[in-house]
């Protein structure tokens, strides 16, 4: 063809208009065709592009130094938006500097000497400052952005959240303060003595009211003190790692919750800090281990378990936690920085630094900056490129020991109302659910579709086939949302109310069918022979009849075999609990969605078996059935295989049916009477609410990519097998 075309052009008899139309068409088609094919590859490329950042390693970047006024530093921090740094000096001066160039923006003099400064947990912009007279003062930073003559300007402000009156605390070694909703508790330790002060109905911007106080004796020489969520407990920790946990829900009735040790015998704790949410404690000991301890509350006891241990190669002097995530950073004695993340168990990056191990340090609220004050007149800032630390191969696929759980588990729980929630991103329950749904659907669909295809292609009368084939194929076009709706709101309640009837269909149908077939074979040979193409029609009343009978006898079965309540029987005898929307419903309904796909391809494969093979076999004396099993099915087997593959691809990716006909709980249980959550349904439920470019968002894209690749590979295999089949017939 192209030869002819080129000849035409060479002949040059075309008018310019015709010539250019021809050329233009060629290019339009070429460009258009390439664009469509490009668009299709774009899907894959884009999914990969969104997923890729989770594979990139995290990095502690090269530091930037800012020279500032020399003052002894008590605390450094970064503003919420990451634009300003704040330093609180021991001389009581609060200064703000620009992150861009280190220039001073504002300064406030508190007029007192600060000996200790901490964040007021769980806030990121409010600090508790202890002066040399053991008075505690709370200060709050605000960053106001306004426009001055069109110029964006950041103005830091310092305010007193509970008025500028300080709270006298008495002599102390260490303190902690936490505001849980409206409940402010200040805890101080001095030797073995613990003092607690509680303010109720606290609101930021208002004066503190009256307080309740209590002083108690602890069993440990506490060096560190931490209040835990909702101000329920207090942790007291000694240098040698002994821990004393007191329940302080009511200051009148303080109870001992736990007593024990968080360090191996003979070792000392070099650093300790609670992770975000304060459900777990990180301890570093002089043997170089960092251990994440979780408090585990069971019905009869409370204990501390080591959830995981990190080894950064050398003893650690300081631990700094991220204010908005569960990650942390360790500083070794020689200044080496290690970035770690508990849930994924990852050591993300390490970088040597010249920072003194005890320098005041903080990670910014957005976890993208580490600032430290190594000297009185210097601030060093390391950028942290660490967007998806919670994802690792093991966090996605292996069992993970989450905070508050008794053992490592597979769990998918991506979000919660709490800010200090530990997201659980295990894809295993979703993969399991996907496989479970597909398995039960195929269990139902494959036998029916294949047997139906064999009968339709090989035995059925042509007149009937002309109706049946398009009829079943129409089913492929039925919107799955309708099937899902029927499954969830029509079939599921019916099965729930008539479980034994539904199960007895599987008994009645084969028995009745067998009896009927036997009776039919006793009819005169002539009738049997001439009707074999119409069995499919003859049998239909029988099917409807056996369903009817099953529902009539269902209550009888229920009483005889299941003690009057089949669901209770399954729970007591087999230990299978029952959900209304379960894998049985999905199996049947999704089976119906998959049947036409498998049926159509398998029917084509069987139908395409050359007739001379069949006739040859029959001529050699084989019965039609023997011919089918030994000749036809064998020849059509690649086509049948590809039919099942394509059916599986459809079952794996089906969304609406699973969404509507299951409870969408990410379970890891193969029980047919319980639901599941699949990749596809999970994406449909969670993606619209997911924050763009967050780890959650990228993991959902990863799930989509997995689905894409899985079905694409499955279909390609099927297609290649089918083409080979076609070639083989060509030679026959």
């Amino acid at each position: 063809l192209s030869l002819i075309m080129q000849n035409q052009i060479h002949v040059g008899r075309l008018s310019p208009r015709r010539h250019w139309t021809n050329v233009l068409t060629r290019y339009t088609v070429g460009v258009g065709g390439a664009a469509v094919i490009g668009a299709i590859t774009l899907i894959f490329a884009y999914l990969l592009w969104v997923v890729a950042p989770i594979l990139l390693p995290a990095e502690i970047e090269t530091p930037t130094d800012y020279r500032i006024v020399e003052r002894p530093t008590a605390l450094v921090d970064v503003s919420e938006n990451g634009e300003a740094m704040v330093r609180i000096s021991e001389t009581g001066i609060v200064e703000f500097f620009s992150v861009a160039d280190g220039s001073g923006i504002a300064a406030f003099d508190l007029g007192r000497t600060i000996v200790k400064a901490k964040r007021l947990s769980p806030l990121v912009d409010t600090y508790a400052l202890l002066d040399d007279n053991n008075n505690l003062l709370f200060v709050k930073t605000d960053y106001i952005i306004d426009f001055d003559n069109g110029q964006r300007r950041l103005s830091p402000k310092l305010s007193f959240p509970f008025s500028n009156r300080s709270i006298p605390l008495g002599p102390l070694d260490n303190f902690d303060a936490q505001l849980a909703d409206d409940d402010l508790v200040i805890a101080t330790v001095s030797g073995t003595q613990v003092s607690l002060t509680r303010f109720k109905n606290v609101e930021i911007g208002y004066r503190l009211g009256g307080s309740a106080q209590v002083t108690l004796a602890s069993t440990v020489q506490a060096q560190e003190v931490f209040l835990v969520p909702r101000n329920q407990w207090i942790y007291l920790l000694s240098k040698s790692g002994e821990i004393d946990v007191l329940g302080i829900k009511s200051l009148q009735r303080v109870s001992r919750i736990y007593q024990g040790s968080l360090a191996p015998a003979g070792s000392t704790i070099t650093a300790v800090t609670p992770l975000l949410g304060r459900y777990s404690l990180l301890t570093a000991n002089d043997q170089g281990d960092i251990v994440q301890w979780g408090a585990l509350v069971t019905a009869n006891e409370t204990r501390f378990v080591a959830l995981r241990t990190f080894d950064v190669g050398q003893p650690v002097a300081q631990l700094i936690t991220e204010p908005r995530r569960k990650g942390f950073l360790s500083v070794a004695n020689d200044g080496e920085l290690s970035l770690l993340y508990p849930t994924s168990g990852r050591l993300l990056d390490q970088r040597p630094s010249s920072l003194p191990a005890s320098a005041p340090m903080a990670i910014s609220p957005r976890s993208n900056l580490l600032i430290a004050a190594p000297q009185d007149g210097l601030i060093t800032a390391h950028g942290l490129d660490n967007k998806h630390p919670e994802i690792s191969w093991s966090a996605l696929w292996a069992e993970v020991w989450y905070e508050g759980y008794e053992e490592p588990i597979f769990s998918w729980q991506s979000s919660s109302a709490d800010n200090d929630f530990e997201p659980k991103f295990s894809l295993t329950p979703l993969a399991f659910g996907t496989m479970k749904a597909a398995f039960y659907a195929l269990l139902f669909a494959v036998p029916i579709a294949l047997m139906g295809a064999i009968y339709t292609a090989y035995f059925m009368a042509p007149a009937m086939r002309a109706l049946v084939k398009p009829g079943i194929e129409i089913m492929a076009a039925l919107p799955t949302v309708i099937l899902g709706f029927l499954g969830g709101l029509w079939l599921a309640p019916i099965i729930e109310a008539n479980l034994s009837s539904v199960l007895s269909v599987f008994v009645f149908l084969p028995v009745l069918l067998f009896a009927f077939a036997l009776a039919w074979s006793l009819l005169p040979e002539k009738i049997v022979h001439s009707t074999s193409g119409w069995y499919g029609l003859i049998v239909t009343p029988l099917i409807i009849g056996s369903v009817y009978l099953a529902f009539q006898f269902g209550p009888f079965f229920e009483n005889t075999f299941f003690g009057g309540n089949s669901r209770a029987w399954f729970l007591e005898v087999l230990g299978l609990s029952y959900d209304q929307r379960n894998a049985l419903v999905v199996g049947i309904i999704m089976g119906l969605a998959v049947i036409p796909t498998i049926f159509s391809i398998a029917e084509d494969a069987v139908y395409a078996v050359p007739t001379h093979l069949v006739r040859g076999s029959l001529a050699l004396g084989a019965t039609p059935w023997q011919t089918l099993v030994k000749v036809v099915l064998l020849t059509a087997s690649p086509g049948i295989f590809s039919a099942v593959m394509i059916g599986m691809g459809r079952a794996v990716g089906e969304t609406m049916i699973v969404l509507m006909a299951t409870g969408n709980t990410p379970l890891m249980d193969f029980n047919i009477f319980e639901g599941m959550r699949t990749f596809a349904a999970n994406i449909a439920v969670e993606l619209p609410e997911s924050e763009v470019d967050s780890s959650h968002y990228r993991i959902l894209f990863l799930a989509a990519l997995v689905l894409f690749l899985f079905t694409f590979v499955l279909n390609t295999v099927a297609e290649v097998v089918r083409q080979r089949l076609r070639r083989r017939y060509g030679s026959l």
């Binding site: 609406m656 994406i683 619209p688």
Partner: protein, 565 residues
């Protein structure tokens, strides 16, 4: 002994003949066909039954506490459950019939949700003392609170000089006043959708304009003053219209209707809340059929009410059709061009073969994956950038950077382009080679051959592909949930304000409507019949499209048989 041997021999022979297996295979076909027919019948029966103006029964029954109760209600469906379950859920053992393992119960729609909830209740057959269908009961379809049932007692017409009407004159007056109410509602609708909507659009435009003026330095005081004057003018106009609107509402709310429920207690209703009334017990079959057709029409033509559990599905039909139309406008040229390229222009080789396989396989990629791509690439990436370039005024509220009609159509176009390509290619392959050669031999260029010979011949195949694509797109829901469908769109994507077709708007869709009403609705019993009806509509649409495609394909096959011979 003999007979036993004989019978085993018979069975062996019978199994060897394969006869039982053939029956089993036949049964598989039977199951598949029964399932298809059964599903379609189920949807049709349940969907169509909803519109029938069923008789209203007066049921007297004994309630849980042994009190006699009287209700008006429509008997919706008869159901049964095992006695054991009934007793376990705290049922009254007195209602059990000795020896019957199952309990029969009626689902009764009793309406009157405000005065006597719930509006749907199960009443056990053994609980019922007496059922009758008294004449004179009216069913009132209300703007909110669902249906009301009762016998009309008095109608008070007018606020200033109230006239109380009873007896013979009541029904005619009631119908007349309802018709008047309809007229006023129409006026209100056109006022709100027309003039007031136009002013709102104008105000929003001014707001963005003023924001822009304030942002650019130095502030253009003259322009600002002009915008402010315009705004106050628009606000004044709006106030006038609002006054007019209030007057309409006052006109509407003139009448008070008192009906008696089955117990004989009075229920007072504002006639303004009543949309329609009918008296099913007084209707003959013909009147009922007329009412039925009317109900069907209202279902197709009305907006939904009460969180989609009442009223019609018109916006969903409109949204589905518009989205599918936009999609076919995009998918047809691209699908055809790609197919022509692959079959007519590209050099056939391993590359083209593998592209063909890839395209084929894309039809098997789960639709949710396309939804994910659509949300990420079209909505956030393309839409976000369009907003940055052209709609900076409105930022940070997104215009195109949020799910909408255009993105839904594009996503579905991508989803269905393999269908069009495969079908078109099939059509192109069937065109005999000698036709192309003949055309070229007569001196036609390749383009002329394409446009004058090949494409016309392939047009049925292209059409088949497009129809199949449309059928697939109309039934897809999963990707749409991510890229633009909402449960309730305040406005249609097409209206009287510039640019008339609003590609950025969210829209309603029949498939999503089924999901939403069936699964997210607060009142599932009330919503279920509507879901069946919506399903039926969607099934008819899609099966119809598919049958058309199948018939077209058949015609195509016959056509080429002629050409080839």
């Amino acid at each position: 002994m003999m007979s036993a041997n004989k019978s085993t021999g018979f069975f062996r022979g019978w199994f060897a003949s394969g006869e039982p297996w053939i029956w089993m295979n036949a049964a598989a076909v039977g199951v598949s066909v029964s399932a298809v027919v059964g599903i379609v019948l189920l949807i049709a029966v349940k969907g169509l039954a909803h519109f029938w103006p069923a008789d209203v029964a007066k049921i007297s029954f004994e309630d849980k506490n042994g009190q006699q109760q009287l209700v008006f209600g429509e008997l919706i469906e008869l159901d049964d459950l095992p006695v054991k379950q009934f007793l376990e859920s705290g049922g009254n053992p007195n209602w059990v019939t000795e020896g019957d393992p199952r309990m029969q119960r009626w689902l009764v729609k009793t309406g009157n949700r405000k005065t006597n909830p719930p509006d749907f209740r199960w009443i056990y057959v053994n609980q019922i003392n007496n059922t009758e269908t008294p004449g004179g009961v009216i069913v009132l379809e209300r703007v909110e609170w669902g249906n009301a049932y009762g016998v009309p007692k008095t109608l008070t017409v007018g606020r200033e000089n109230p006239q109380t009407i009873t007896g013979e004159a009541l029904m005619p007056t009631l119908l007349e006043r309802l018709a008047r109410g309809d007229t006023i509602r129409e006026e209100i609708h056109s006022l709100e959708g027309g003039a007031m909507n136009a002013i709102n659009v104008g105000l929003e435009r001014l707001r963005l304009q003023m924001r822009q003026i304030n942002r650019t330095l130095p502030v253009d005081e003259a322009a600002l003053a002009e915008a402010l004057t315009e705004r106050s003018q628009l606000n004044a106009q709006y106030n006038d219209l609002e006054k007019q609107l209030r007057e309409f509402y006052r006109q509407l709310d003139q009448d008070q209707l008192i009906i008696l429920d089955a117990q004989g207690s009075e229920i007072s209703l504002r006639l303004a809340d009543v949309l329609r009334i009918w008296q099913p017990n007084n209707m003959n079959a013909l009147e009922k059929i007329a009412e039925y057709v009317g109900n069907l029409w209202l279902f197709l033509s009305e907006d939904p009410r009460e969180a989609n559990t009442e009223g019609g599905v018109f916006p969903a039909i409109f949204g589905t059709v518009l989205m599918v139309l936009l999609m076919s406008v995009m998918v047809t040229p691209f699908g055809v061009i790609a197919a022509v390229y692959l079959r007519e222009y590209a050099k056939q080789g391993p590359l083209v073969r593998s592209i063909r396989i890839a395209v084929n396989n894309l039809a098997g990629v789960p639709s949710i994956v396309y939804g994910v791509f659509g949300l990420g690439f079209f909505v956030y990436f393309l839409g976000g950038n369009i907003d940055q370039l052209f709609f900076t005024d409105a930022l940070p509220s997104p215009t195109f950077g949020t799910p909408g009609l255009i993105w839904a159509s594009l996503t579905l176009a991508l989803l269905t382009v393999p269908v069009v390509i495969v079908s078109t290619e099939e059509g192109l392959t069937r065109i005999p080679r000698n036709l192309r050669e003949g055309s070229m031999a007569l001196g036609a260029t390749q383009a002329e051959t394409l446009f004058k010979v090949i494409l016309p011949m392939a047009s049925p195949a292209i059409l088949t592909g497009v129809i199949l694509a449309v059928a697939r797109a109309a039934g897809e829901v999963a990707p749409l949930m991510l890229v633009g469908v909402v449960k309730l769109a305040p406005t249609l994507p097409v209206d009287g304000t510039f640019p008339y077709l609003h590609l950025d708007r969210k829209f309603m869709h029949l498939g999503f409507h089924i999901y939403d009403v069936g699964f997210q609705s607060p009142n599932v019993e009330a919503a279920r019949p509507l879901v069946y009806a919506t399903s039926l509509l969607l099934v008819i649409l899609i099966v119809g499209l598919n049958l058309t495609a199948i018939r077209l394909r058949g015609r195509l096959e016959r056509l080429y048989r002629g050409v080839e011979s």
